[in-house]
Amino acid sequence: MAKLSLRGVVKRFGENTVCDGIDLEVEEGQMVCLIGASGAGKSTVLRCVNLLEPIEDGEIFLDGVDISVPGLNPQPVRRRIGMVFQSYNLFPHMTAMENVMLAPRRVYGKSREELRPEIAELFTRFGLADRMEHYPDQLSGGQQQRVAIVRALAMKPEVMLFDEITSALDPQLVGEVLDVLRLLKESGMTMVLATHEMGFAREAADKVCFLKDGRILEEGSPETLFGAPKHPETKEFLARSLK
């Protein structure tokens, strides 16, 4: 059974259909990359999975359980699915440590003292040992994004969603964030990424999906999708983005 699966997911914003019947299977420990032009619906797919957007039609299953039932309390589901955003979205009035501690404290009722050692270890693992007491505006973009990843991981999620997390970064900072993703993959995390980093997708993904106008036009292993794309739209997109 797939860890996460989407069946015919439809999302509309008014007249605008952003997801037009998305089918997607993500196996445990897999890294799946969603690629495609801006506006193709990559981010919306992730937001739907995290129940930040209610869907119009279709189903989303986590461990075989439908999590898209209308009226379902979204909070227990969101705890199991971590999400990292393009614009980091750290809480600016809290230090890095407080940012990470907030949700485990409130949701799991753990104390600061209880949490500190394990969170400090996460910070250390991602090269942030000396940045724990800094405020977001005292950190570089790459550091902020790594704190955001630590914040999501501290909830011990089973699946992580990454929404173009390197798009707002200076080119020289992209590498440090991608390294974190490689580390996570090694640890066996199930991950879905919306990304423009073609090189990374080709090298690290288990599966790549090409989205256009809210549909998955083509999917497959990175070798086949990048090496021998079948769909003319995929070819055109890859030709443009790889230049």
Binding site: L52, P74, N89, F91, L102, V107, A152
Partner: protein, 277 residues
């Protein structure tokens, strides 16, 4: 870099210094002229001697000023218990207007009504209606005190304004902050309490300070329903001495409090704008 004079300044620096000196000179000259115009022209007015005697009388000022200061303590006292109540009630109303749950919809409607009504009526009218109306029900002492009902009128009116300012602050916090908090599995209540509100409150502190400066001035309206605070006290002196100087003294006392507070609020606002840019 090309140095043009002995001090080693660039052409640009010399030019800018010249500009600065010139604008300083112009500003200085026009200020002196404006000041002279007031000092010279006003005393030339036909009624000046009379105005001077009845508004700027030194003996009356010296005699009444300490007592006005004492009376001002009542204003400060009323302010001190009204301000926290206004903050708390204003915050509650702002939160009520933001509730999402349909079961609490009446609360939302109430919040909207509340702010519309109390912002739509002149403060002095609310003070009259509540300050005379409720004790008129024949309540026993001390519940017929104008201090209680006058304060309540101020609290009701000002919390409506303060609620609107809090609400604007809540709306100014970017939606992505809410998404981030929700994606972590926080409840709506925790999201508001730990993520949205702290940012919103910080954002609106300068505006709220201006509201509280206005409140300190409006405390004087309570004089209409009884309490002998500074405005009323000045009125008593005016009648006793047939002289308006106590009003000038009262104005000076208000200014001594409100001007520094206003300057401070402006400073906070300027600092915030600078941080944001």
């Amino acid at each position: 870099m090309k140095k043009d004079d002995a001090a080693g300044k660039t052409r640009r620096q010399i030019y800018e210094e010249k500009l600065r000196r010139r604008s300083l000179l112009i500003a200085g000259t026009s200020t002196v002229f404006a000041f002279l115009a007031v000092v010279v022209l006003v005393p030339l007015a036909p009624g000046w001697e009379k105005v001077k005697a009845s508004f700027f009388n030194r003996e009356v000022f010296v005699e009444t000023f300490p007592k006005l200061l004492d009376a001002f303590l009542i204003d400060v006292m009323i302010f001190v218990w009204c301000a926290p109540a206004i903050t708390a009630l204003g915050l509650l109303i702002a939160l009520a207007r933001d509730v999402q749950s349909p079961a609490l919809f009446p609360l939302r409607i109430f919040g909207a009504f509340y702010t519309d009504i109390f912002r739509g009526v002149p403060v002095v009218l609310t003070v009259y209606l509540i300050g005379f109306g409720i004790p008129g029900l024949g309540l026993p002492r001390p519940f017929n005190s104008p201090y209680i009902w006058g304060s309540l009128a101020l609290i009701l009116t000002y919390s409506a304004y303060v609620a609107e300012i809090f609400r604007s602050g809540i709306e100014a916090v970017h939606k992505s902050q809410r998404s981030a908090a929700q994606s972590l599995g926080l409840t709506d209540g925790d999201t508001m309490r730990f993520v949205i509100l702290p940012q919103a409150i910080r954002q609106v502190i300068p505006s709220q300070m201006n509201m509280f400066i206005a409140l300190q001035k409006d405390v004087a309206l309570l004089s209409f329903i009884g309490p002998v605070e500074i405005f009323r006290q000045a009125g008593v002196f005016k009648s006793l001495m047939a002289n308006f100087t106590p009003y000038v003294g009262a104005a000076l006392i208000f200014l001594a409090v409100t001007v520094p507070a206003t300057r401070y609020a402006d400073y906070l606002l300027a600092k915030q704008n600078k941080e944001r840019s």
